[in-house]
């Protein structure tokens, strides 16, 4: 699922959703529905939180009726510390390794995949932690595009504008949260979705700064087939990003209107961004 979503029901086994909520009372019904749906799909579900295992399981028991028919291992609780570590800031690569291990374990145990959710508000409350956490989101997005991991990342509205800087890094977001999204394509390309104009210029530049080519990838490909509008501010930002990137940056499926603007700007055809990557 790519783009704004109205309901968790639109999600599959490889989705990465940002869900913004008011407080836990607002989040829990979504969590309950999300996990019930996952269990019906034959997925292992895991809830992450800052509490200890006992508290987490009790909390989860209140929102998901695990019943007696479900084996205990179908529903897991994981502490933030176990997945995100105690290091400050978090180590994105290490976090994704843990997600991968948990997903592989679920598959080995006979599940169709892993579905996780967490209210991560407290993990990003401090501005100095946001860059590293955003990179975690990008890696999680990349991982879920290729593996049977579906995640619903809960952010509380109290974070204010900071919410959008994380929302735009998910393939699926609650409608109206962000005008654009940076998502992962299943072939490794970075997809751009939505409208990129001056109003979201700062957010787009910040999102670009957080994207890093995957290790060992000889190039970074942007898929622009889902770009509905892109003005010259965004194009120049993309050009600057490509100029500074340590690997060649390519763009594919560039809308004709974007190419025309690039030509007017003297970026032939897209400046430091090469066309290709099909």
């Amino acid at each position: 699922m790519i783009g704004p979503v109205g309901s968790y029901r639109e999600l599959g086994v490889q989705d990465h959703l940002c869900w913004v909520h008011g407080d836990r009372r607002d989040y829990r019904p979504r969590l309950s529905d999300f996990f019930r749906d996952g269990l019906k799909r034959g997925l292992r579900v895991a809830y992450l939180g800052s509490e200890d295992a006992g508290e987490l399981r009790e909390l989860l028991g209140r929102v998901v009726d695990t019943g007696t028919l479900l084996p205990r291992e179908a529903v897991r609780v994981i502490s933030f510390e176990e997945f995100y570590g105690a290091a400050e800031p978090v180590d994105p690569a290490a976090v994704i390794k843990r997600y991968d291990a948990a997903t592989q374990e679920a598959l080995a145990d006979g599940y169709r995949g892993l579905r996780v959710s967490a209210d991560v508000t407290d993990l990003v409350r401090a501005p100095e932690r946001r860059d590293a956490f955003a990179r975690c989101e990008i890696l999680l997005e990349r991982y879920s595009a290729r593996h049977p991991l579906s995640a619903m990342c809960g952010y509380r509205r109290e974070l204010g504008d900071a919410v959008t800087q994380f929302a735009c890094l998910h393939a699926a977001v609650s409608a109206g949260l962000t005008p654009f999204q940076v998502f992962a394509c299943d072939d490794g390309a970075v997809g751009l979705f939505g409208e990129f104009d001056q109003a979201c210029q700062v957010a787009f530049e910040r999102a670009l700064r957080r994207i890093e080519p995957a290790p060992d990838d000889p190039e970074l490909i942007f898929d622009m087939s889902a770009v509905r509008f892109m003005d010259h501010h965004a194009l120049l930002a993309l050009d600057s990003y490509a100029e500074a990137c340590q690997v060649p940056v390519l763009a594919r499926s560039v809308p004709p209107a974007v190419l025309r603007v690039a030509r007017l700007l003297g970026l032939e055809p897209l400046g430091h961004v090469h066309l290709g990557g099909l």
Binding site: F229, D231, V261
Partner: protein
């Protein structure tokens, strides 16, 4: 090394001439071109096909003159400035000591529209200063409207007469003082717009435009209008004074958009005609960009604020 009347002049030697007959036209253009050919200077001549044919017949070696084949050069003032800059760069790189250029701008007397070309005439006094250009702008007094002739007098520091006499022009206005002609109102602007948005985002303006304008004009024109309205709304919100009001009118094959705010608008008289360096954050680059598109862009400064008007479609009145 520059020759002729421009000898010793640095930058753009901008001159106007007024003629009322083919004989006077010949008296103005032939010495200009022949002198340039004799000096081995690039000579560029751009008139309508009838006048170009006349000039060819008058010159001793018309093959030594460039008659630009691309009539699209004069599609918009900003594009003409950019296209000629590229041409001048090329000639200078090839060693030209002076480039002579003469032509006629679009106006109602020759079947075109003069909207924006008065600003062009004012701007080229500045924006071609980097080049050894002698620009001779000839105006036909029999066909040019009074407003066009008036603008021509206010934008050329020098005037040459068919007799060959040259004088400094006392009516010339420096670029910073130039009073541009107000854009001619579009008849649609006198009617009730299909939508009016007050203090709404550029994204909402684009959505409204797609909803109203989809299918009325070619897709590329709609794309250009989307860019234009987006840039104009962003500028109004960032640099203007609230409220920012977007109005959209649409009829088959034609769309008119106005974006108005209560601010004074950009102070730079050249805004939109030249790119403001390479800084994307500046107001100038976006306005320059939309002036390069195949849509009509007009800037209107008035007591009640600043308006960017965009028009796209096959028939622009």
């Amino acid at each position: 090394m520059r020759t002729g009347a421009a000898r010793g002049h640095a930058g753009h030697f901008h001159e106007a001439g007024f003629y009322g007959s083919d004989t006077e036209f010949r008296a103005l253009i032939v010495p200009f071109a022949e002198e340039g050919i004799a000096a081995g200077e690039p000579v560029i001549i751009g008139y309508d096909s009838r006048k170009n044919a006349l000039v060819r017949s008058w010159l001793t070696d018309p093959s030594a003159v460039t008659f630009p084949a691309d009539s699209n050069v004069y599609a918009t003032p900003a594009r003409a400035i950019a296209a000629y800059r590229r041409l001048f760069e090329l000639h200078v790189a090839q060693g030209a000591g002076q480039i002579r250029i003469t032509g006629e701008l679009p106006h109602p007397g020759n079947g075109g529209r003069f909207d924006g070309w008065d600003r062009y005439e004012a701007a080229v006094n500045t924006v071609w200063q980097d080049f050894p250009v002698w620009g001779l702008c000839l105006y036909d007094t029999a066909t040019s409207p009074t407003t066009v002739l008036d603008a021509a007098e206010r934008t050329h520091p020098r005037i040459v007469s068919p007799s060959g006499a040259r004088r400094a022009n006392g009516r010339f206005q420096q670029v910073a003082d130039f009073e541009a002609l107000p854009p001619v109102p579009d008849p649609l602007e006198q009617t009730t717009p299909m939508i009016e948005l007050v203090d709404r985002s550029a994204a909402e303006a684009r959505r409204a435009l797609v909803q109203i304008g989809g299918g009325r004009v070619a897709g590329t024109i709609l794309d250009y209008l989307l860019l234009g309205v987006s840039e104009a709304v962003s500028n109004a919100q960032i640099h203007g004074r609230a409220p920012a009001t977007v109005r959209i009118w649409a009829v088959p094959d034609r769309i008119v958009i106005s974006v108005h705010d209560q601010g004074r608008g950009p102070a730079d008289p050249l805004v939109g005609l030249v790119p403001a360096a390479s800084n994307a954050a500046t107001l100038g680059l976006g306005l320059w960009l939309i002036h390069q598109l195949d849509i009509d862009v007009a800037l209107r400064h008035a007591d009640d604020g600043f308006t960017v008007r965009l028009r796209g479609g096959t028939t622009i009145g």
